[in-house]
């Protein structure tokens, strides 16, 4: 009965159009249909092997969350200094399963264009394959992905309009004489102790205080509010071809350092298999340089176990200005690395062994309680 009514309703809409009724409703409907078609066409025509300005990325996010509405939602994170909205995409397979969160952000440094390109590639790969690819299907059973394609939006736009090699945000200091905070020195972890500058003219300016910047606040607030459920914090940068573990503010190692190195090395191996690219793995203080106030260190110290910085291609030949011709290969190999990390993370919490352990401890607890209740 409902089906019949539905069909009649549809006919009622479509047929008058065919018969040339040019009511405003019919007109509107036609426009909506056309717009949806062109949007879908827009997404079909979206090139993941080119760099996109922020306007196009905003549009892409909307289109992605509409096309894949069954698993994707777009969320407001906060406002940038220049009052632009920050959005992240949440990819989540609806189910009754308990979920843990994987966080990925790109473009905290404005000039590192390959990073936002990778975030978009990552989303595209997950969504185009989650129905057919057993590996991705498995991950989505218990993992939700939170992806922030561009963290430093103001800076990113500035690299398109004014200075391709800008790094910081675009906050104003000293009465408008000095611009930008290095957002990756602004987090509340050993803030400004080393590898950062108190001088707003410097490229590693740590800000006027820990989490002084709206972008940092926005990310921190969300991560803080969900930290009990976040198992993996991934922040994407370029260049250098490195997988970095905590810490940058000290040479001391995190409690799970061995594990992080092991997982990181496996990821580097998976990456190398794609196109032969060599990545090195190590703590930031060991293989890069000293930094304080980084998002990765902060995430680790609030308890997120798997916290990595990825420095993508290349090794300095083009540096930040990586040719578009290399986007595909870079994204393919980086995808392999990330999936390797995710596999290991999944294995740790929901793998065969861990399921067994969980089950047996549940049984023991059950026995204990039933015993106690008998007393």
């Amino acid at each position: 009965m409902k089906l019949l009514l539905g069909t009649l309703y549809l006919l009622g809409i479509l047929v008058p159009e065919e018969l040339g009724y040019d009511g405003s409703l019919a007109q509107h409907r036609r426009e909506v249909v056309e717009e949806t078609v062109s949007q879908r066409r827009g997404l079909d025509a979206y090139s993941y092997t080119r760099y996109h300005p922020m306007e196009e990325i905003y549009q892409w996010m909307i289109q992605i969350s509409e096309k894949y509405a069954e698993v994707v939602t777009q969320h407001f994170l906060g406002m940038t200094y220049e009052t632009r909205p920050m959005y992240y995409l949440k990819i989540s397979q609806p189910s009754n399963n308990p979920k843990k969160i994987i966080w990925m952000d790109c473009g905290i440094h404005a000039r590192e264009w390959i990073a936002p390109a990778f975030c978009q590639w990552f989303v595209k790969e997950i969504l185009q394959n989650y129905k057919d690819d057993s590996r991705i299907k498995k991950l989505l059973r218990n993992l939700d992905f939170y992806v922030l394609p561009v963290l430093n939006i103001d800076g990113y736009i500035y690299t398109w309009t004014t200075d391709r090699l800008w790094r910081k945000s675009r906050s104003s200091h000293n009465n408008g004489t000095c611009f930008g905070t290095d957002l990756n020195r602004n987090f509340n972890v050993s803030w400004c102790s080393i590898g950062a500058s108190r001088n707003c003219q410097d490229i590693t300016f740590c800000g006027t205080g820990p989490v002084s910047e709206p972008e940092t606040k926005a990310v921190s607030s969300l991560i803080e509010s969900k930290k009990d459920n976040i198992v993996c914090f991934l922040t994407m940068h370029s260049f250098g071809q490195l997988i970095l573990t905590p810490y940058g503010y000290t040479k001391n190692k995190s409690s799970n350092h061995e594990e992080l190195i092991q997982v990181g090395q496996k990821a580097a191996n998976a990456l190398k298999e794609k196109h032969g690219t060599n990545y090195r793995v190590g703590s930031s203080a060991d293989i890069l340089y000293a930094t304080s106030g980084s998002s990765r260190d902060w995430a680790r110290d609030i308890g997120i176990p798997f916290s990595y910085t990825f420095e993508l291609r290349d090794n300095g030949t083009y540096g930040f200005v990586l040719p578009e011709a290399q986007i595909q290969a870079t994204c393919e190999e980086s995808m392999a690395a990330i999936l390797s990390v995710l596999d290991d993370v999944y294995e740790k919490y929901w793998g065969v062994d861990s399921a067994g352990k969980a089950a047996s401890s549940a049984v023991m607890l059950g026995l204990l309680f039933s015993f106690l209740s008998l007393l």
């Binding site: 410097d202 090794n315 083009y318 040719p323 290399q326």
Partner: protein, 291 residues
Amino acid sequence: MWGRKGMNEHCDLLFQEHFFPQKSQNCCPGFRLGSFKKCLFSFFFFFLIAVNEWISFAPCGCSNPRASCRGRTTQPEEVGSMPGTELLNSKPRIVNPKKECQVDLVFTTDRYNPEEGEERLGKCSARVFFRNQKPRPAINVTCTRLIEKNKRQQEDYLLYKHMKQLKTPLDVVSIPDSHGHIDPSLRPIWDLAFLGGSYVMWEKTTQFLHYYMAQLSSVNQWKTNDDAIDFDYTVLLHEFSTQEIIPCRIHLVWYPGKPLKVKYHCQELQTPEASGTEEGSAVAPTELNNF
């Protein structure tokens, strides 16, 4: 043999490679490979262009001499964008802890604009010596299996003639462009700019500071009406450990067979830690000698 010759007696800049810096002192982040013992400028330039590429490889700081650096093989798809060198091995060692740092390298080279599938040419070994955290490391390099001299001179001259025919690229905004693209017709200009930039970078490199050439940001002058190519331009250097971008104005004059002349001025930042040794200033025209 490790000589004590000053750099004045060597060809100043041939090719450069990069280490990744370690966090603290006593590492060898970057260096420039200076001279061949007997190098003629034609050969020098020819190979400078050919091997002028950045390679970075595993950390091998002088603070950890037991760590052997494994070379990184040039990836096939990088060859197009990275004509030049394949690092085979490198060994750092501390000579005097905290004071000096010596790195030994082995690598191969390509000719300028190699043909598809062409075999790699020169096999080189080099010793780079940083003293007391000062810039301009001393470099001793020897190569075998290079193209013979007449052929080199010939090729240099052809390159020179080709450059003379280029239209004045004064409206060039930046090379590469924002998307990393270099127009093939502008490639020789980039290469020549890189040659001059390499010299500047060698002058500034220390155990702790190492540089990349991020962009050719403007061409101020490109004169070829006289015999020489008179090239005045600005590059943006990127220093890795501080992540800073340093604009440098460079003026170079080249005629094949004659020594390259380089003059430059870099916009240095004033930092509290600056020792004063690296303040940018106009340098008198430096001739890269063939000795």
